[in-house]
């Protein structure tokens, strides 16, 4: 279980306890947190669960991107070097306290 903080583009903060094994994307969807669309349902084929990890320490601590994630991020709205697809961030105790920032929009 990890407490994940989701911050919308307008600054609204949401916190959710997300069970280990779920993705950060699923944590948002299951808790009705707006700002993450996840059109493809977690298949790494749409780039609509795009988030920023503003804390550099956290960004480095996250599991590395798999092949294809950066390719999808190319197709996201305003990708940056601290962008991740939240469907690829699988929750474990290690992610307790993670904060993700949502982009202005997903599509």
């Amino acid at each position: 279980m990890a407490k994940i903080k989701y911050i919308e583009f307008n600054g609204t903060e949401h916190e959710a306890d997300v069970a280990n094994g779920l993705s950060v994307m699923e944590g948002a969807i299951q808790n009705d947190i707006p700002g993450i669309d996840a059109d493809c349902g977690g298949g790494m084929s749409c780039a609509t669960c795009h988030v920023y990890i503003n804390d550099d320490e956290w960004f480095k601590k996250l599991p590395e991107k798999e092949m294809g994630e950066d390719d999808m991020l190319d197709q996201a709205f305003e990708p940056k070097s601290n962008s991740r697809l939240s469907c690829q961030l699988i929750v474990s105790d290690d992610l307790d306290g993670l904060t993700v920032h949502m982009p202005e929009k997903q599509v």
Binding site: D37, D39, C40, G41, G43, S45, C46, A47, T48, D70, D71, D74, Q75, F77, E78, P79, K80, S81, E104, V107
Partner: protein, 338 residues
Amino acid sequence: MIKTDVVIIGAGPTGLFCAHQLGIIGLKCEIVDNLDKIGGQCIELYPDKPIYDIPAVPECTGEELTNNLIQQIKPFNFNFHLSDRVQELKNENNKWLVKTLNGKEFETPNVIIAGGVGSFEPRKFPTKSAEKYDGKSVLYSIKDKTIFKDKSVVIFGGGDSALDWAIELSNSSKVTLVHRRDEFRGAPASVQKIRELSDNKTIDLITKYSIKDVKGNGSLESVEIKSETGESKIIKADYVLGFFGLIMKLGPIAEWGLNLDKKTIPVNTENFETNKKGIFAIGDICTYPGKLKLILSGFHEGALAARGCFKYARPDEKYRFEFTTASSTIKDRLGVKE
């Protein structure tokens, strides 16, 4: 005006198998999709990715699945209306009048929405200023490449479309290719070609930059790009091209008076009819308690929706359940010779 029993919106796997089920029970249908090819997400998003959960098919790609589904409905000779989009649904005398973007019109008692997450559209530049040049000098697809001759063209993106067009247009235009990172997702041969063209100064290659603003006075003059560390550059541009892949938008479906739950359409699980009589929703776009966004669920939903259509298409007939293995009527429809 085309009269038919069912209009299916969406030529993905769910729409295709639903067409099969309609054919089996003797109904006609017309299939509309806004992509230029059949297959929906399977063909647009993951043609080469293996799928492992199609019943009785241990492994297949999105393209193989699509080809097999096309093969399966061949006997019915249904019409596809590709690169077109259903724009308007209107009810008249218990029939639905369906109008498309390209001006096609259908009259039908049934519409089945199998539209996935909506229609695919190119992702556009995030900058507001690009909007006023949209379709004129800011483009997301190329219809006529001759317009770029001897012009300054700035291309954004790192996939095959961006690389292929940068290579192609470098013969006759001043090309700048801008991409947000050093790696490209395009085919390795194209990436190598781009590096060569950049090394011999045929094209300008700028990485780790993205668009900031487009500027012009009536007509487009330049594009401003920014790096994440805050530097910016201004590049002269007659045309700006963006190739960031496709996004999915619900589009006009949202305007047809259907109940919506976020981006999905609630249905009953008996026949997948929506809150509007004769309008059904199946596949990823529908929702109900326990809904799974799996292709196999879409197949099931399509089979039941097809039966749901029968009563409106053939109000004076009684639907008879038959097995394909045993029914000579179905075998006739399939053109199977015994």
